[in-house]
């Protein structure tokens, strides 16, 4: 994955990190600047654009009716998909989703699902027959590293912005009425990703760091500071001590972001 240029830079990146500094001027525990805009796509039920430094992700939500899963007949359905749009990076190619976009979608999905962010029990229209299906589509518009955190933020921001159609059931048929209510949410998980370079953990790795880091770990943290989802990625490893350290950093950073965003 790593280009020749970044491999030459590896030594420089490593030396800086050993001193607690980074190539883009941040400290090892600092996030890039975060900007969130909501509701830019009028035709979507909800939408949000997140800028994490130069990384840009747009998420749109759509709500439709459909059948529930047989094992949860009284609950609405959440479906997350991610597109690594070719215009976002020279390394993205058109075509069916590859393992990277599937993994991204599943990490975002797990953060929302396992923290029970959406009150799915309130999305039931007719038990076992008809429920609301929430589609969360992640659109990566510019890739400058840490797509996971940007996508997870954008997904939750879009859900916060999502409107549910009013409806009534007439003779077993669902009729959509005018007007909207907000989507019932119970939690706002925040996902924090750490990269490991030469044994050091850095928060929010950007593209050049991603190309030289040997592994990453992402943790979704809820309001209570509990962990709801984890994913290790990359071809390296973590020592048990590093995992516990990563857990502490993730919980601290999530609380910090939560305060900053007012979530």
């Amino acid at each position: 994955m790593s280009s020749l240029v970044t491999r030459v830079k590896l030594k420089q990146i490593e030396q800086l990190i050993a001193k607690g500094k980074r190539l883009d001027g941040r400290g090892i525990g600092d996030y890039r600047e975060i900007k969130i805009e909501q509701g830019l796509i009028e035709k979507a039920e909800g939408s949000a654009r997140v800028l994490l430094g130069k990384t840009e992700v747009l998420v749109g939500t759509k709500i439709e009716t459909g059948e529930p899963f047989p094992d949860t007949p009284n609950e609405g359905v959440l479906t997350v998909n991610a597109e690594l749009v070719p215009l976002a990076s020279p390394s993205f190619e058109p075509g069916p989703p590859d393992e990277n976009s599937i993994e991204l979608a599943r990490i975002v999905d797990r953060g929302i699902r396992e923290s029970k962010a959406i009150a799915t029990e309130k999305l039931c229209i007719e038990p076992g027959k008809n429920v609301f299906v929430v589609f969360v589509d992640v659109y990566v518009l510019n890739h400058d590293g840490n797509l996971i955190d940007a996508s997870a933020l954008a997904a939750v921001a879009a859900l916060l912005n999502t409107k549910m159609p009013n409806y009534e059931v007439e003779d077993g048929e669902v009729k959509i009425k005018t007007g909207y209510t907000t989507l019932p949410l119970k939690s706002r998980p925040i996902t924090v990703t750490l990269g490991k370079i030469n044994g050091n953990l850095i928060v929010d790795p950007w593209l050049e760091e991603e190309q030289v880091m040997d592994s990453r770990i992402s943790m979704a943290i809820n309001e209570e500071g509990n962990i709801c989802a984890i994913q290790k990625g990359g071809s390296g490893y973590f020592t048990p001590q590093q995992i516990l350290e990563a857990k502490n950093i993730a919980i601290e950073k999530a609380a910090e972001l939560r305060k900053k965003l007012g979530w």
Partner: protein, 246 residues
């Protein structure tokens, strides 16, 4: 469909399948089970039945995927249509694509990829029967298959999950516990190097519970590691006995 049990752990601390919180399911490991593969292994972990095979290091097909400075690892985790209660379509699901990726990444740190430039190895994992914890059992078997192929390794990779069922942190969840439990933490470990190569989690855990689950999963990995070494030895002991008989 069975009724959902009210309690997954009884008053005596016994789980639905009779195990204690820190007890693993019975394991059976066998090495060198497939004639055509360069290395292979079979695992029975509780009701999980999984075959793993490795081919290579060999020339990459297609050739343009090979890398000038290292070996490429390809991995396919696949579930047989009859491996679960309701037939699973044989086409790869999104879950299988993700698991193929994390399994590959959990085994990669154990290999000296830089020693085999321009080559590739293919890892094929077939889940014949699934009962919770298949990704861990797959890693355990695949690592043995790599060792069986005689590919140099830094260490064997052993994998085991821990999680929370009712209010208790337990090791090695089976299907029902995985589905009805609170949280699941699959973990892979290279015990000699103290290196965690796979870590995932779903469900909600407090930081303290998470720490406990990680420690429990690592203990499980160490037990499985001992069985892996035993399985490798058994293969060569059998060969030795055969040779001595002749």
């Amino acid at each position: 469909m069975n009724e959902k049990p009210e309690k997954l752990i009884d008053k005596k601390g016994c789980r639905l399948d009779g195990r204690k919180a820190d007890e693993l399911r019975p394991l059976k490991l066998e090495v060198g089970v497939l004639a055509n593969a360069d290395g292979s292994a079979y695992i029975e972990h509780g009701k999980n039945k999984i075959l793993a095979a490795v081919f290579g290091p060999r020339e990459m097909h297609p050739k343009h995927l090979s890398l000038p400075d290292r070996m490429v690892i390809r991995c396919r985790y696949h579930m047989a249509p009859f491996s679960v209660q309701e037939r699973k379509s044989p086409a790869p699901s999104r879950r299988e694509v993700e698991l193929s990726k994390v399994i590959r990444e959990s085994l990669e740190p154990s290999l000296f990829v830089e020693l085999y430039p321009r080559t590739g190895i293919d890892l094929f994992i077939e889940v014949l029967q699934a009962d919770g914890g298949t990704r861990c059992a797959s890693i355990t078997a695949a690592s043995l298959a790599i060792a069986d192929a005689g590919i140099p390794m830094r260490d064997l990779v052993a994998a085991c999950a821990a999680g929370k069922v009712d209010d208790t942190v337990v090791v090695d969840l089976f299907d029902l516990e995985d589905k009805l439990g609170v949280a699941d933490v699959p973990l892979a470990l290279m015990p000699n190097l103290n290196a965690v190569t796979l870590l995932q989690m779903d469900g909600i855990l407090t930081p303290e519970e998470f720490e406990q689950a990680v420690n429990m999963a690592m203990e499980g990995c160490k037990k499985i590691y001992a069985m892996q070494k035993e399985a490798l030895k058994n293969k060569y002991m059998a060969i030795k006995e055969e040779v001595e008989e002749e």
